[in-house]
Symmetry: C2
Subunit: 301 residues, 2 copies
């Protein structure tokens, strides 16, 4: 597995990334609308470089369910807006205090702290506004309301923001494996799972398939985070584009720290296998989703 996805998978991935970037560009407020500096900062924070993993999951799940990408653009944008807001707030001095992200100044460094707080706040509102009245989604209010419910729950204190709180509280502590798993499920897993479930909701999928996709998204989210932890221990800084060992230096609670490297790797591979098993009943249309899962879990970067 190289830094770049397999050739067969590279094309759909690039098209999903371009597709969501186009859609985000269209829905973000223009920079000549007041407040102009805030709107410039929103675009800076959302449209910068990034892998667009969550939108790719939305599109790949839609493809697996034979649903047109034009029916999930809004969901892809909404989940990326939530992810972008979380990065802006996580980078703040009171949180992870990062000056750089993906080689560029973080929002509070490029602008200022107050603007960064308001950027995150506005992006979250915009995510829900898109689900309520944006294009690129099924028209049925029932479906859109379900999307709001999925995204709000995955973002709040039982999801991503709660996971971040658990992470801050755990730093420097000794957690048991259940506590580490809860932390990771919420901090990273909840939004990854929501990306899959939102696409399933747009596709009007059956309860059975939705359940299989729920298992898939849950296992993928956890496997993705364990790989993240593993790469911080044994990754190649050249491929990662950043130094390793940050989790250890910050005394973060990670899978390798709690389980050891070997057991963490085994757990990751087990979850990866379980995620792929969950996709079996979808048949051959699941191929791009399988490839995306492999790429996300087995990546070296």
């Amino acid at each position: 597995v190289s830094q770049h996805p397999e050739p067969d998978f590279a094309r759909p991935l690039a098209s999903w990334q371009a597709r969501v970037d186009n859609a985000l560009d269209r829905l973000l407020p223009p920079i000549d609308h007041q407040p102009t500096r805030l709107h410039e900062a929103l675009r800076y924070s959302v449209l910068g470089p990034g892998k667009r993993i969550r939108p790719a999951l939305v599109y790949a799940t839609a493809a697996a369910l034979k649903t047109d990408a034009a029916l999930v653009d809004g969901a892809a944008c909404a989940v990326e807006l939530i992810h972008a807001y979380s990065l802006v707030h996580d980078d703040l001095p009171a949180m992870d205090d990062d000056d750089l992200r993906r080689g560029r100044l973080t929002c509070h460094k490029a602008y200022d702290e107050a603007t960064a707080i308001l950027v995150g706040d506005s992006l979250q509102s915009l995510a829900f506004e898109v689900l309520a009245n944006g294009t690129g989604l099924p028209e049925e209010p029932r479906v859109r309301l379900h999307l709001v419910e999925l995204l709000a729950h995955a973002s709040g204190s039982y999801g991503m923001a709660g996971g971040q709180a658990l992470d801050l509280a755990a730093t420097g502590q000794q957690l048991d494996i259940e506590a580490v798993e809860l932390l990771h499920q919420r901090k990273t897993g909840a939004l990854i799972r929501a990306s899959v479930l939102m696409a399933a909701a747009c596709a009007h999928t059956s309860a059975n398939v939705a359940l299989a996709l729920d298992r898939f998204g849950t296992q993928l989210g956890l496997a993705f985070q364990i790989q993240d932890d593993l790469l911080d221990v044994e990754g190649d800084p050249l491929l990662l584009g950043k130094a390793i060992g940050a989790d250890h230096a910050q005394a973060k609670c990670t899978y390798p720290a709690v389980l050891g490297l070997e057991a963490a790797r085994a757990r990751m591979l087990g979850l990866h296998r379980g995620a792929l098993d969950s996709l079996r009943e979808l048949g051959s249309t699941a191929a791009p989703l399988t490839a995306l899962c492999d790429w996300l879990v087995l990546r070296k970067f």
Copy 2:
């Protein structure tokens, strides 16, 4: 006009305040759920002392439209959750840097800055989750989705968060009256207007009445903020419970600073009259809404 509302109005106001506090207490996560410290901080930030002005507007509008309070509890909670999140973030050191609010430590002082950021973020998610799947609202997905749209737009960069950005950018600047009005409409007005419109949406009101209530909410929101500005110049610190002159000391862009005291007061009274005129076609059921409007605009505290 005294610090306390008129006797006829005191009873409904107190009952609305108790009603929304009960509903908020039921929907906020219990403090024995993980992350316990975050959940404790959510409750600290929402259930503390406060006038519950926006929920009162939701309930008073519902009463004016002969709609049961049980059909707007969710809207009252959602708008108060957004308001509470904005106070927590506004108090942060990078924003207004306040240590005290309503005589208690602000969230980042009682807990810490990272927790305060996550409290605000979680409260915003919770507001939209309540609208999507909470009790105390009409069941129709179309109505609930409209509530999400109204609240998201009023909260984001074209609403409250954008108004806060305009306020920060304007501090120490000379703005013309149009710019001050835009700032105030968004910073305070948008959420007040949304409180009225959300109740109207729950009441399935006619387009005509919704339009009249839109005019009412817009004018009330602006009048409320001008009165806020005026009280900071000429209010009684004993009634206000805080020192006056803070806007001037911080070189904030206010109506009195731009128009002068007399013209600002005239504008406020004109808006108040306009707001009351907008309620005329509602007939006698509008009495509590009229009383609430008088209380909010003519208050001395």
